[in-house]
Symmetry: D2
Subunit: 339 residues, 4 copies
C-alpha cells in the first residue's frame, strides 16, 4: 500500500508511520517529495489493515495497490470458471437462460411456467419459495411446500432449479431441492449466509446488492470462495439511482468490468432492474451483446395474477419472441445457447 | 389506492381494472377525465397488492394513498415512544449518548473505553463482538468472548450495553449480555433477523441501510413491531452517494422526517457517516440541534491501534470536549442529558 | 392533477383547495375516502403550477397525470422523428456512427482521425473546439481555430461535423462550421443556451446531464422544441452513481424508456460513460442491441498523446474492429448502417 | 502524482511511462515492488494531465497527490476569507442570514417580504429576477423589471441584495442592482458564466450543483478566483440521492469538509434541500450548529400564492420563530449575528 502524508506533515509523524509498519513486520520505503512524503509499504494489502495507518496523525490517505479480493481475481485464475449444473456449463462460450416466475404460488402456476419456458429454450427454472419482502404485509412465499413444487417441476421438465435461500439455517433444506442456491440482493452482505453457502457443494448464484459496488460484489464472492465453494455465479440486477422511470438502473458495465477483474461467470437480470415489462426485452438483448454469460428473466403464465412482480413479468408468448432475438444476437457475438 | 390509466386506454381495459378490484372484494370508483381515466380503490393499501393492478394492460401507474407502514406511523400512535433501558428513557425530551469502540478487542481496551466515556457523560456503551466485514480477511470480532467482556464493562461502570447481532440464531445469546440489540446497516433488510429480534423482549437499535430509503427503514421497523416488540430505536448513519470526501453522506433530514412520520425515537451516528475523525464533532453538534433523540459515537482509547474504524474514532479527550458542546447545544434546543 | 389531502384534513382545508382551483378557472372533483379526501383537478398539468396547491395547509401530495413535456412526447407525435443531415437520416431503421477525438488539437491530428473513422465506416466526425473543463488549469480547446480545422476535415472527407457550443453568444459562429450543434452534459440545463439553439436551424445533439433524470432530459428537449427547432437528437452518456470502476454508469435503459415516451432519436456515448478504453467496445455492442439510433465514440490517432480523454479513446485499429461487430449486431436486430 | 502499473506490467511499458514524464520535463522516481511497479512524478499535479499517463499501456491508475484546486485551498491561504458587503462581514465568527422569496413576483410581494425578514433580523434579501426553470412552461421571472424592484427594496429597507445571474451577457446588468451575484446550482459548471463573474468586482454566491462533488464545487470556485475575483461565498443546497421524502438530501458534512480544505465562507440553504416547509427549521438549526457561516431561507408573505417554491417557503411568522432558535444556537457555538 501507499501512504500519502498531509503536506507539511512533521518528521516525527512520518517516523510514527515507519515505526507502525515495522511493528507489523513490514518493509517500508520513504520518498520525500517537494512538500509531501510518501511511504510505500510492501506486503499483501488484503491482510493489512489500512485503518491503523489512517488513524495516525499526519496521514492524509492510504492507497491499496492490490484489489481487496484474491480468489475471485483474474490474477489468481486466468481462465474462465465454468460452473457445471447437470449437463449445463455456465460460463465460457455458452449463453444460459434462467426463466420462471418471481414466486412459486401453486403447483399449477409453476408447472405451467416451467413447461412454457422449457419449450421456448430456457435452461434453468427460477421461482422463489422463500421471499424477502420489504413489507411484512406482503406475500412471503410458500416455504418448504414451494421447494417441493420446484422439485416436481424439475422431475417433469428436466429443467435445473435455482431458488433463493434467505438464512443460514435453511441452506441444507434448500440444497436438497435446488441445483443452484440463490443469495438475493438484500442478502449480498449477510455474511453468515455467505459462509453457510460457502461450506456446502451446490453452486451459488450471488446477486449484486442494489446498493453495492462491483468491488463489494467480488468481496462477497470471496467470502464464499474462501470457505471452499468455487462454483459462484454473479448476477447484475440493477442499482439504485435517482432515475425514476425504471425501478433500478441496470449497470450493464458490470459485465465487462467483471470479465476483466474476475474469472467468475456473470449473468444479467433485466426484469428486476427495469421493474416494467415494456423494457425487459430491450435490456435482455443488450445483455447478450455486452458479453454476459446468461440472463435471468421473470416469466409468469398470467402476469396480472402474479402474487409478486407481475408488472415486470413477461407472458410466455413475449418470452418466446425474446428468445428468438436472443439467439440471433448470441450468434452475432459468437455465443451459443445449449441444446 | 389510485389507479391512473394510460391516456386513451380502451374501455375494456378500464373494465378489467374494475373487475379485478371487484374480484378482490374492493369498492372502486371511476372518474373519466379529458383523456385519462382514474380509478380510486378503497381499502387498506398496505394489504393490497399494487402489482396485480400494475400488471393489467392500459394501467399507467398505481399510487398508494397510505404510507406502507402502520404500527410505526404517527397516525397509529400520536405520542412519542419512549424506550426504557434500566433507568434510562430514550426518546421524549432527553438526549442519550452511546459511545465506545467499534469492536471489542480486549478486556483492557473495552474497560478503558467504558470508564472514559462514562466519565465524560455517556449513558450507554457500544462495542462489537460480532463484526460484519466486507472482506473475509478482516478482523471478524471476538464473538462470545467479546460479549462477556461487555458484561464485565457493565458490571464495572453501570453503563447499559448495546451490541450488534448478525443472525437469528445468535439472538438469544446476545440478548443475555446486551441491554439493546443492534441490527446493523447491512442487515436492515435481513428479514429473518428482523423477525427474530421482534419475537424477543430486548429493545432493538435498527440502523438505516446505507442505501435504504427512510420508508424502507420504517418498513423494517414495522417487521419488528409486527412481531410484538414495540421497543425499536432508529439510527441514521449516513447513506451512499457520489461524494468522496466523506465515507457516507449523513442524511440529517432523516431526523425531522422520522419525527413527522413516526413515533419512534431516532439517533444519529456521525462516526460511520463521516469515516474521518475531523468531521465527527461538527456532525454530532448538528445532530443535537436538528432534534435527534441521541447520538452514537466511536471512541477508542488509542485510535491508531484500533482493529477497526480507527480513522473515525475520537480519542477520549476529543470526546470529553465534544460532550461539553453537546450539553450547551442541548440546552439551547430544550433538551437535557440524563444525570 | 390529483391532490391527496393528509389523513384527517379539516373540511375547511379541503374547501381552500377547491376555492384555489376555482380561482384559477379549473374544474375540481372531490372524492371522500375512508380517511383521505382526494381532489381531481382537470386541465393541462404542464401549465398548472402544482406548488400553489402543495403550499396549502392539509395537502399531502400533488400528483400530475400528464407528462410535463408535450412536444417531445410520443402522444404529440406517433411516428419517429428522423433528423436529416446532408444525405444522412438519423432515427428510423438506420444506425448512425459518430466518431473522432475528444478535442481538436491540431489540423494533423483531426484530419488523421477523420480519415481513419471515415474509412472504418463512421458517418459523422466529432471533435471539440470549445471544451468545458472542470479545472481552470486544463486545456480549454482551440476555439474558433478549432472550428476551421473541423471545416477542413469535412471538406476533405465528406463527413458531417458535430461540435459543442458552450454559450448562447457562440451559437451563430459554431453553426457556420458545424452540421450539428452539441449541447454538452454540463449545459443540459443552461436554459439560455437551450433557447439560443432552439431559435436557429441546425440540428441539436442534446446530451443527458450526468445528474439529470430522463424526464429532465426530455424537458430540456422541450425547451429547444418550443423555440421552433424540431431537430433534436438525444444522447445518453452515463450518470453519476456510487460505482467506482467506471467513470459514470451508462444508463442503457434510457434507450427503451425514451423510445416509449418520445419520438426523438437517441444515441449512446459509451466512451464518456466508461472512462476506460477496455470497456468501450462491449458497451457499444450493447447500445446497438438495445435499440439506440446510433453511437458516439472517441477515437484518437494516438490516445496516449491526447490532450483530453486519452484513457477512454479507441485507437483507429480498435475502432475498425468495433465497427465489424457493430455491423453484425445491427443486422441481427434489423438495423442497417448508412452506405 | 503517483502512477501505479498493472501487476506484471512489462519493463518496456514502465520505460514508456518514464520517457513520457521526461518528455514533459518532469522528474520521475521508480519503485519496484513484489509484483507492481510504482512511479512517482514530481511537479504540480494541477497543471499535469493525468490522462496522458493513463492512456499508456500497462498503467493501472494515476493518483494525484495534491488537491486539484489551489487558490481556493487552505494551503494557499490559512486564515478565513471574510467577504465584505456594505457593513456586513460574511465569514469569520459572524452568522449571516439571507432570506426572501424564491422569485420577485411584484413590488408589493417583494417589499412586504423584505420588511418582514428585516424585522426578524435577516441581513440580506434574496429574490430571483431571472429564474432557471426545468419546464419551459413555468414562470421564468420578471427579468430586468425584477431587478428594479430589488433595488427599491434595498433603498427602502437597507438590506443588501443577492440575486441570480444566468448568463455571461447579463452579468453587468445584474451587477448594477445586486450586492452579491448568485450562480445557481444548475450553472455551477457553466464555465463561461464563471469566467464572467470572475472578471468583475461583486462578490459571488456559488451554489453547489445538485450532483456535484465538493471537489468540483471548489474547482468551480477556482475558476472564479483565477479570473481575479477573490470574494467567493459557497453554498450547500442539497444533492440528489435516492431518498424520496425530501426533494434533495442536505449534505451537511460539506460545511466541516469545506472548512478544512478551503478558506472560503460557506452557507447552507435548507429550503431548497428539503423542498418541504415542515423540515426547513430543523435543518436551519443544524446548519448553525455544524459551523456554517450563514444560511439562506425562502420566506414568502403568502406561501400558497407563491409563483415558485411555495411548498418550502416559510411564512414571516414561521421565520420569526426560527430566528429566535438560530440566535440561541449561535450563542451556544460561539457565533453571533450582525446587529
Amino acid at each position: 500500500m501507499i501512504i500519502v502524508m498531509k503536506p507539511g506533515a512533521a518528521e516525527r509523524q512520518v517516523g510514527a508511520v515507519l515505526r507502525h509498519a515495522e511493528s507489523l513486520g513490514l518493509r517500508a520505503h520513504l520518498s520525500n517529495g517537494d512538500k509531501t512524503s510518501i511511504i510505500r509499504v510492501a506486503g499483501d494489502d488484503r491482510r493489512l489493515d489500512a485503518s491503523g495507518f489512517l488513524a495516525l496523525k499526519g496521514v492524509d490517505r492510504v492507497i491499496p495497490i492490490q484489489h481487496p479480493f484474491k480468489l475471485a481475481s483474474r490474477e489468481a485464475q486466468q481462465r474462465d470458471t465454468i460452473v457445471r449444473v447437470g449437463g449445463l456449463a455456465i460460463g465460457g462460450r455458452t449463453f444460459t437462460v434462467i426463466a420462471g416466475p418471481c414466486a412459486v404460488e401453486s403447483a399449477e402456476q409453476t408447472l405451467e411456467a416451467a413447461r412454457r419456458v422449457k419449450k421456448a429454450g430456457a435452461h434453468i427454472l427460477r421461482g422463489g419459495a422463500f421471499k424477502p419482502r420489504t413489507s411484512p404485509y406482503s406475500f412471503q412465499g410458500l416455504g418448504p411446500k414451494g421447494l417441493e413444487i420446484l422439485s416436481r417441476a424439475r422431475a417433469e421438465t428436466g429443467l435445473a432449479i435455482v431458488t433463493e435461500v434467505m438464512s443460514a439455517e435453511d441452506v441444507s433444506l434448500v440444497a436438497e431441492h435446488a441445483d443452484i442456491l440463490q443469495v438475493g440482493a438484500r442478502n449480498m452482505q449477510n455474511f453468515n449466509l455467505l459462509d453457510a453457502v460457502g461450506r456446502q457443494k451446490r453452486p451459488v448464484l450471488l446477486k449484486r446488492g442494489l446498493m453495492s459496488t462491483v468491488e463489494e460484489l467480488l468481496l462477497s464472492a470471496e467470502h464464499i470462495l474462501s470457505r471452499g465453494n468455487r462454483n459462484v455465479i454473479l448476477c447484475e440486477r440493477g442499482v439504485r439511482t435517482f432515475e425514476k422511470y425504471t425501478r433500478n438502473t441496470l449497470d450493464i458495465s458490470t459485465v465487462p468490468v467483471v470479465k476483466r477483474l474476475s474469472h467468475l461467470p456473470i449473468l444479467v437480470d433485466p426484469s428486476h432492474a427495469a421493474g416494467v415489462r415494456d423494457y425487459v426485452a430491450a435490456l435482455a438483448r443488450a445483455s447478450v451483446a455486452v458479453g454476459a454469460d446468461g440472463m435471468m428473466i421473470e416469466v409468469h403464465p398470467q402476469p396480472e395474477k402474479a402474487l409478486c412482480d407481475g408488472p415486470e413479468s413477461l407472458s410466455p408468448d413475449e418470452f418466446d419472441r425474446l428468445m428468438k432475438d436472443v439467439r440471433r444476437i448470441a450468434r452475432a457475438v459468437g455465443r451459443r445457447l445449449a441444446r
